[in-house]
Amino acid sequence: AQSVTQLDSHVSVSEGTPVLLRCNYSSSYSPSLFWYVQHPNKGLQLLLKYTSAATLVKGINGFEAEFKKSETSFHLTKPSAHMSDAAEYFCVVSGIGTYKYIFGTGTRLKVLA
């Protein structure tokens, strides 16, 4: 079975400060993990994905995430927030042996000027 927990439903940061969006997962399979971003009234866009090649994954727009098996975590970070980063972020788990993608409930990121 698979599950994913996004630990914060809302996060507020000031522009120029670091972003941390937390995600914990559970998977019976070798997991593949994704972060998607959804801007208002838009579809979901892939930020980055973990595919076992490297534990530190770099994505678009300066985001990165680190896969920590011992902590079953895949937290999303960015060194310096930009106003355009304000959106909803979803952590997703899938893996070998399943076609299902399990979505977290989302974290809404607010960036303050």
């Binding site: 593949s32 994704f34 579809g43 979901l44 892939l46 899938s94 070998i96 076609y99 979505f103 409930t105």
Partner: protein
């Protein structure tokens, strides 16, 4: 190349009417998913199509919901006798299955916002 497209982008209907939502996946993508996203909620899986295999309909919330995929490409999600609780954004996604059936992401369409009055 073209991404996943969905139509209409917005649909307002009266309670009890039937609606059809369309999804055009990325060309060559054999897997297609439908999800429902209610206000402030995550994504709820509805149905999965893969090639000519029988679809996984386990996420459809009631027998008022049905979907088909013609010719392995375009998909239509039909909701009969709509209810107010059907109001949501319906998202379609496609993906390309690679040899080891893993690690490849879904590509999402912009969604159809359904409002049932």
């Amino acid at each position: 190349g073209a991404g996943v497209s969905q139509s209409p982008s917005n649909k307002v209907t009266e309670k009890g009417k039937d609606v059809e939502l369309r999804c055009d996946p990325i060309s060559g993508h054999t897997a297609l998913y439908w999800y429902r996203q209610s206000l402030g909620q995550g994504l709820e899986f509805l149905i999965y199509f893969q090639g000519n295999s029988a679809p996984d309909k386990s996420g459809l919330p009631s027998d008022r919901f049905s979907a088909e995929r013609t010719g392995g490409s375009v998909s239509t999600l039909t909701i009969q006798r709509t209810q107010q609780e059907d109001s949501a954004v319906y998202l379609c996604a496609s993906r390309n299955l690679i040899a080891d059936n893993s690690y490849n992401e879904q590509f999402f369409g912009p969604g159809t916002r359904l409002t049932v009055l």
